[in-house]
Amino acid sequence: MTELTIRKEEQVVFALRSLYEMFGYRPYKMTKFEEYDLYVRYKDFLISENVITFNDTNGRLMALKPDVTLSIIKNKTDEGSLKKVYYNENVYRVSKGTNSFKEIMQVGLECIGDVDSYCLCEVLNLACKSLTYISDRSVLSVSNFDIILNLLESENIEADVRSRILDLISKKSVHDLIAICKENDVSEKTAGLINAIASLYGKPEFVFEKLDELLPGDENVESFRKIINSLDDEAQKLVEIDFSTVGDSRYYNGIAFKGFVDGISGSVLSGGQYDKLMNRMKQNDKAVGFAIYLDMLERLNETVNEYDVDVVMLYERDCNIKKLNREIEKITYNGTKVMALTSIPNEIKYRKLMKFDGEEAKEV
């Protein structure tokens, strides 16, 4: 099997699985279906609300999984212990562009239970390592959701305005942020801080210097700095702080991150802490994890196969098949791809045309 035979996304899956196992993450295998009820209760957590449903033989309404995290949390039983798992599963979601369902392969990991600073660092390190397996030009954008939420909580901002503010932060839309803060009587000081933080972007040392000026002595800034500074050297090279990386405040908290690869539009990796989702699911544990969308990686196949096969081998139907087999095996021995046919194909592009004359294969 040549490297070309294994597609980029398949190579990445192999590498990621062994990476996660190396750090003690155990494979998590699950069924393709889940009771629909689970997704109804947490539909805002899903990237797309549309779910493929069907009735099981006993009448229960089932769904093809649109998400993996909810199933993993639901099945966690031993509260307090630390569970480290990784998965490689297909999920079924509506694709934004085509408005139709798509099967998407995801690889990801979850660290659930007594999550401490080490766990957060480990997950961030693994996210960075995963990105380096995908491309040598990648960036992990990290933010701390609590810093922004704290600011919003300091003012009496209604829930729908808060989610509009978070949406504008995620778009880096400072001009609209200024307008919405004004409309909703957010104090000038808080509005100024929200705008300044929404535009903050760059390497950690630069951003933390700015954060120290904006929020001196802030506890969340300190814990964020501690985690970022504790990352390994390779991860440090990839990490950039960007507060536009935010999620739904009903589910997420703390660290949030997205991975970007040069040449692929949109984030290929997405993750963060979701203690709030755990609480909503009546679990007292903390949790952090990330997922990699493998469907996006097919665009990374730098080499486009110029030829379908290397050799087309023409043979007569009444030839000695044993001898033909021997000739073909000789050619395929060093990895050359051969297609044996009785006539020259129209749609196949080949490098070399050979003909089996009954005794041996000769180039035509």
């Binding site: 960036v139 778009k171 880096k172 001009h175 609209d176 970007f260 690869v261 539009s265």
Partner: protein
Amino acid sequence: MKQMLNVALPKGRLGEKVYAMFEKAGFECPSIKENNRKLIFENEEKGVRYFWVKPSDVAIYVERGAADIGVAGKDILLEYEPDVYELLDLDIGKCRMAVAAPKDFRDDSQRTLKVATKFSNIAQNYYNSCGRDIDMIHLNGSIEIAPILGLSDVIVDIVETGTTLKENNLEVKETIVPISARLIANKTSFRFKSELIEKIKNELASQTGEIK
């Protein structure tokens, strides 16, 4: 080879104004002014490549990464909700998204409101926020004639000066949102070409009077 920044400009008057701003910012590309049918122009020295696309397509080019940055109206951004950064309000192409109806129209809240529009998503979001049940009629142009012919009760459309409305005996009943042109950026490009994008953003911001 020098890395080029792909810039999608909206064809038409707005696009010409936008290009003038880029030119003033020091990212000129003289060949763009030649009278021909070419759609792509580049200035290798400055590292920029401009291309003209249909205004409603700019956001798609940027979202999908074919363009690193572009200029799109807020109406397009609200309608298609592309996953892009909205870096700057360029303060040009100003107008508003509004509900308009015949002058003597009285909204009977007992009945489903028939709304004709090119901007179905914006209209739906607006009436959802009002809790109003509507019958959406998606049209692709000449929206103003819909209430005249009884196709709809009201229209949701862009209003610039209001002349077209007035000539068709319509008037603005509600303003939904003010509209202006925005500098947008692809989320991946923003990370890998951030220096040049930030530079362009700051130069353009200085022209709109915003603080850098």
